[in-house]
């Protein structure tokens, strides 16, 4: 099975039919950043982009990703610089144990691509599929607001 992950070509052999994209990423491609809190599509900790659309990698068969483009949490930062969404999660204290974080980062990244200035209800709706057990979500909301503000500023350019 061949696909592109975070811009790099990947190839794995002997894909077993029950193997999920999440398993392939974590155990076969050495990319354990996407997490496996439920493997049933309930927690969002495994969220990755598949051809630009966020999906639960635990629900996608590895074979379905053939010849497609996957982006994981490991692919968000550019040139060793944290993406503004990553920086905002760090700065806002939205990371405790961090197990939910990779999925939330991808989901937030996607939200801000679609809606650069989301309202709180929009943020809640967009992240409703991502469980976090540590933070009570308040600082996650802060992080998304901050990330939106940062990208608005950087778009406005230096004043």
């Amino acid at each position: 099975m061949k696909c592109t992950v975070n811009g790099q070509p990947q190839e794995i052999d002997d894909v077993w039919e029950g193997e999920s994209l999440l398993y392939a990423l974590r155990e076969r491609m050495g990319l354990p950043g996407s997490k496996n809190a439920c493997e049933q599509g309930e927690c969002g900790s495994c969220t990755v982009y598949l051809d630009g659309t966020p999906v639960c990698a635990c629900l996608v068969a590895a074979g379905q990703a053939a010849d497609r483009d996957v982006v994981t949490v490991e692919g968000l930062a550019e040139d060793d610089e944290l993406h503004p969404v990553q920086q905002a999660f760090l700065d806002a204290g939205a990371v405790q144990c961090g197990f939910c974080t990779p999925g939330l980062l991808v989901a937030t990244h996607d939200l801000l691509e679609r809606e650069p200035q989301p309202s709180d209800p929009e943020i809640r709706e967009a992240l409703a599929g991502n469980l976090c057990r540590c933070t009570g979500y308040e600082k996650i909301l802060d992080a998304v607001r901050q990330a939106a503000a940062t990208s608005a500023q950087s778009k406005a350019g230096p004043s």
Binding site: G33, Q40, E42, E74, V95, G136, Y137
Partner: protein, 771 residues
């Protein structure tokens, strides 16, 4: 050296990122890039995967186990049963009563019977399914009251079914009162539901020992149990902390630790085990379900005269931490109130239900639902404001607990309640303009179940109390090794403990303490392992207190050595020198040397074992100074309830908590948010449904935890009333917010609906009264 001259006037700013600030977590960058290695991410060439066969029955006898077909499976390297356990086939935190692999008796559904190692996780799982176990199935004992009081009930363990009965007796047992309220309350079985599944990697070592990389809350208590099971000395059983994806009590007991070690030792290969979410529900203990009967007597002006209570906690099949849970529920059973006459009987019992043990706020959470429901009932009976009835009876510094222990530091019960009460309320829904109402803000949300008709608002209050650290005379300590040396021209401190970072931010606080105490900016936190003395458990809200205390003490010793050394070079008395931001400062505030120069090529290391002040066992009347510190939080909840459908939306949840000293204000608030969310879960949605000893909902599809849609905005008020007995005056933070959140939400639902809610989680039919 001659008399020092004032070489520099400017001492420089304090080192940034010390105690009281909110520096970023040192593991944060790895966590946002996906590189942080959780226990489930571990990998070694040639490693095998372990899997576990579990009993489908809650009560049974094993007649035989046939592993023939499993062993024959291609790719399988080992299949082990109880016969293969080299040491004692028993483990447990306080009482070793749980088999590593069941050999004879099955006491709960999900009990481990056999383990397999194979070259692929799926191969291991398939081999597990080929093991044939012949069970003689028995009727399970599932009613905890029957387990205690029915003498014909089968004894599940030698010594009977009562694991602990703790009576608390104080004052007049026959006291009478003008106003009496009775109540019976139940708390369902809650799951910690950490997101990172149980997992770890066991690696056989050349010396015949084992190295285990594991997500746990207490490396040394795991090690102690593993030594016994493996029949090996501590120096052969070495544990290192792998990344922990949340804990909340669920990692206090062993899960896959012994199994992975057994398989690795048997096969001579590294073995990884990782539970699925379903297996996780069977792989760790849960919060004890409780049945509570309360009777409160008060004067007409609302002063409590007496409290009587019976609390039964279902410990399930094995002991785990049940004795400590009983102690908390009993000693904190009347809540943060002054009551002269108290009679509490608390029982922790064995049944064939899933084993229960530690979960955030254990014992205190259950009792708080009982006593706070009673305080509301009392307020109703007296026609008094619920906050008023609480403040009239509020505990304060100098007051006596039902155990006879005098509260010897701040107990701002009244102030916390008043603070939450004074916070701004959210806008009332406008009944005349329901069409313009955002569906997302209504109970039922976008399911479009109401446009506001039948929706009532309610407000509820609650306050809780929790003991911090281990109690009842337990030798509770932590060990810290602190090193200071020059690296790349800068003084660098290294902090080494075995204390488990589970997400709460202990690593950040350790850095902050070292910065403050040593005046150095760079502090390296060495990975936690059993190469240094025990750090004690990451539980009971104790790590910042105890490991923080140990790090502080070790830093103080390192600092004293630096100053002694400087004094020798400078020919000044060490008592006149102090350390500030990398400089040695004299009594007249002159900078007399730089720390890097004093250190030169030397490394200063100090290891300290630090204990909090001793606590004492309780006597036969439950009297004694059992606790080291009390902590308090209060909540106000605002809810909207669709009274026709029984749907609840928590609109706002506010909290005031005294933390003694906010070591890291952002992290403190993060704990309050997260703890409150877990209390909300218990109030309205979270329950492991068990019937006939069988778990009915072991998945995130059927066991619901709060999402970002369920969790409302919070206002948080943090008080800092120092406890003079604690390092920096701090008070444990993690558990109190979980305790009062649940009863506050239920009180708000009662206020909105008038329903007499006696069980959590509250379900729609409790509100609508339909069966």
């Amino acid at each position: 050296m001659s008399t020092p001259t004032r070489t520099e006037q400017n001492l420089g700013a304090d080192i940034a990122g010390g105690v009281g600030e909110s520096p970023l977590r040192p593991d944060g960058t790895l966590k946002v890039t996906g590189e942080f290695a959780y226990s489930s991410d571990l990998w070694l060439t040639g490693m095998l995967w372990g899997a576990t066969l579990r009993s489908p029955h809650p009560s049974a006898r094993i007649r035989s186990i046939d592993i023939t077909e499993a062993v024959r499976t291609d790719g399988v390297y080992a299949v082990l049963t109880h016969d293969d356990v080299p040491g004692d086939n028993l483990y447990g935190l306080e009482h070793a009563d749980q088999p590593v692999l069941a050999g004879d008796v099955i006491r709960y559904q999900g009990e481990a019977v056999a383990i397999v190692a194979a070259d692929h996780p799926e191969t291991a799982r398939r081999a597990v399914n080929k093991i044939v176990v012949d069970y003689e199935v028995h009727e399970p004992l599932t009613d905890p009251e029957q387990a205690v009081f029915d003498s014909t009930a089968p004894a599940l363990h030698e010594g009977g079914n009562v694991l602990r009965h703790l009576p608390i007796r104080r004052g007049d047992p026959d006291a009478t009162a003008d106003v009496v309220v009775h109540g019976e309350y139940e708390v369902g079985m809650q799951d910690q539901a950490f997101l990172g599944p149980e997992s770890g990697l066991a690696v056989p070592a050349d010396d015949g020992g084992i190295d285990l990389y594991i997500a746990t809350q207490w490396l040394h208590v795991d090690q102690k149990q593993l030594c016994r099971v493996l029949g090996m000395p501590a120096n052969k059983v070495r544990l290192s902390l792998a990344g922990v994806g949340g804990a909340f009590g669920a990692r206090e007991d062993l899960s896959m630790q012994a199994h992975a070690c057994l398989l690795a030792l048997q096969t001579g290969r590294p073995v990884k085990m990782m539970y699925s979410r379903e297996e996780s529900f069977f792989g760790h203990v849960h919060r004890h379900p409780a049945k509570m009967r309360y009777e409160h007597g008060a004067t007409r002006d609302g002063k409590l005269v007496y409290v009587k209570a019976q609390i039964i906690l279902d410990g399930g099949a094995y002991a785990s931490s049940t004795p400590a849970v009983v102690a908390n529920a009993a000693t904190l059973g009347v809540g943060p109130y002054k009551v002269r006459n108290v009679s509490v009987d608390c029982y922790g019992v064995y049944t064939n239900n899933p084993p229960c043990g530690a979960m955030r706020g254990f014992g205190a959470v259950q009792a708080a639902f009982g006593y706070e429901s009673q305080m509301d009932k009392l307020a109703d009976a007296l026609d008094m404001d619920p906050v008023e009835v609480r403040t009239r009876n509020a505990l304060h510094e100098g007051a006596t607990m039902p155990t006879g222990q005098v509260v010897d530091s701040a107990a701002p019960v009244e102030e916390l309640l008043e603070r939450v009460k004074a916070m701004p309320l959210p806008p009332e829904p406008n009944a005349s303009d329901l069409d313009g109402y955002d569906l997302r803000l209504l109970p039922g949300g976008v399911s479009n179940t109401t446009h506001g008709e039948g929706v009532r608002r309610g407000v509820g209050y609650a306050i809780g109390i929790k003991n911090v650290c281990f109690s009842e005379g337990f030798d509770d300590y932590s060990t810290a090794r602190v090193t200071l040396k020059v690296n790349g021209g800068d003084a660098v401190a290294t902090v080494y403990t075995a204390a488990a970072e589970v997400g709460q931010g202990l690593v950040t606080v350790q850095q902050q303490i070292a910065r403050t105490e040593l005046g150095v900016e760079q502090v390296v936190i060495q990975p936690a392992d059993t190469g240094v003395g025990s750090g004690g458990s990451t539980s009971a809200s104790r790590q910042t207190y105890v490991t923080g205390g140990a790090v502080k003490a070790a830093c103080e010793q390192v600092r004293a050595r630096v100053l002694r050394q400087a004094a020798k070079h400078l020919d000044l008395p060490a008592s006149q020198l102090r350390l500030h931001a990398g400089k040695i400062v004299s009594a007249d505030e002159a900078v007399v040397a730089a720390v890097v120069d004093v250190l030169g090529g030397e490394t200063i290391t100090e290891t300290v074992t630090w204990r909090h002040r001793p606590t004492h066992p309780l006597d036969e009347n439950g009297q004694g100074n059992a606790h080291v510190q009390y902590a308090f939080a209060a909540h106000r909840a605002i809810v909207d309830v669709d009274v026709e459908l029984g749907l609840v939306r928590v609109v706002q949840l506010d909290c005031a908590q005294d933390v003694g000293k906010a070591m890291n204000p952002d992290a403190v608030v993060g704990q309050i948010h997260g703890g409150s969310a877990q209390g909300l879960g218990l109030a309205v949605m979270e329950e492991i449904q068990v019937s006939g000893g069988m778990v009915r909902n072991p998945s995130f599809t059927d066991y619901l935890i709060p999402t970002i849609l369920d969790m409302p905005p919070m206002q948080v008020d943090v008080l800092e009333l120092a406890d003079p007995n604690a390092p920096y005056g701090l008070r444990g933070v993690g558990e109190p917010p979980t305790i009062s959140s649940t009863p506050a939400i239920v009180a708000a639902i009662r206020h909105a609906t008038g329903a007499d809610l006696t069980r959590v989680p509250v379900q729609p039919h409790h509100i609508t009264g339909t069966p």
